[in-house]
Amino acid sequence: MRSKIFCAFILAMTMLAASALAHHSPSAIFDMTKKVPITGTLTAVNWVNPHIIVLVDVNKNGTTESWKFESNPPAWFRQVGVSRNDLAKGIGQTVTVEAVTAIDGSHYGYMQKITMPDGTVLELVGENEKAGK
């Protein structure tokens, strides 16, 4: 239980941190208490301000569910060495996004982590996170 509370705290702190530039707090849109994994086909990466946008189509029993995820700003990704192509090279292939999702129940989320088709994992973490598994 303690570890669950701790994880929720870390997630909330990271989300708050992840949106310092945002035009709102993530709690104004997203359910901050849980992060969910969503696997599907990466269809587009829009490198726009104030948040990059990642689109993923999920197959649900033969029907397509289209998800839209925002994440940190382009300038943030540039400073940490990630370009649009690092994500766009996976378009048309399967990715897994971990995100907190919109309170209104729409297929909208804030991307915290993405696992690319080649196994590369990109994740937003706290600034005190240390390298090493």
């Binding site: 310092a20 839209k68 996170e129």
Partner: protein, 277 residues
């Protein structure tokens, strides 16, 4: 208005006194000491360079894992870090703008609903002085070029340092009409002729077309110090001296900013918000 100018003069003198011996030494030294401002010509420091983003980037890190190897990358927050040490030439700041009593409630209301009322949250131009220090400075003999990278786009400013006055025919704008001169090692930029629909800072700090901004820009070693003073006899009772900001020089080249397309404003369920710029 005379009082405001007198206050500015007092602040300038106080700042110069506070700068003390360090300022005097850097003004007269024939050769810069290590860490001291380099000089482009015989009389003025060279502010040219590329500096880190002035926008408030997320204080998060990126964890990247490739074939079992994990790396962590962080961003530079120097432009928004509170400057702890005394910086030569910095003026004492005032805590908050002093609005006329009839505007105090309006400012509070704007601030309370900032995520819906702040034009900058919806890709509008922050203008001067809210945009802060430039990303790139190109210094010519009698002319300065400031280049910016901003969420709203990439404005530029070109202005002169040769003593000429403000243009008579300039149109109102978010970045105003600028002329500049040197006071010792400090470039002092006088800016006026603003459009009245912007904010000069977070927290609902609206202004009128009477706003007059004085920016002060100087080198501290390789880094760039930036401070602005806002006067607006339309809404303020006294000049507001913003806290000094110190942005680090960087090798990260200037690049065109992606377009700004707000996607989620309609999804806001409350007024929660936090800093931007």
């Amino acid at each position: 208005m005379q009082n405001i100018r007198r206050n500015i003069a007092c602040l300038t003198i106080a700042g110069a006194l506070a700068a003390g011996a360090a300022f005097a030494q850097s003004s007269t030294a024939a050769k810069p000491a290590p860490g001291e401002t380099a000089r482009a010509g015989a009389t003025h420091p060279d502010l040219s360079g590329t500096y880190i983003y002035a926008i408030d980037l997320a204080p998060a890190a990126l964890k990247k894992e490739v074939a079992g190897k994990v790396t962590i990358s962080t961003v530079d927050h120097s432009a928004h870090a509170k400057v702890k040490e005394a910086i030569p030439n910095a003026l004492p700041s005032t805590p908050a703008p002093s609005y006329k009593p009839e505007f105090v409630a309006q400012v509070k209301d704007l601030a309370d609903h900032e995520s819906k009322t702040d034009p900058v949250f919806y890709c509008a131009r922050p203008g001067v002085p809210r945009i802060g220090p430039p990303r790139r400075v190109v210094q010519l003999k009698n002319e300065m070029i400031f280049l910016y990278e901003d969420v709203s786009g990439d404005p530029y400013r070109v202005f002169y340092t040769d003593g000429r006055q403000h243009r008579e025919d300039s149109n109102p704008s978010y970045y105003g009409d600028s002329v500049a001169h040197w006071e010792g090692n400090v470039l002092v930029i006088d800016v006026l002729n603003f459009v009245p629909d912007g904010w000069f800072g977070e927290n609902g700090y609206f202004h009128t077309d009477k706003m007059h901004v004085t920016e002060r820009v100087w080198k501290v070693g390789d880094d760039l110090a930036y401070q602005a003073i806002v006067e607006d006899p339309g809404v303020l009772t006294a000049p507001w001296v913003m806290p000094v900001r110190l942005v680090k020089s960087t090798a990260l080249a200037v690049e065109e900013s992606p377009a700004c397309k707000d996607e989620d404003g309609a999804k806001l369920l409350n007024n929660d918000h936090h800093g931007q710029r």
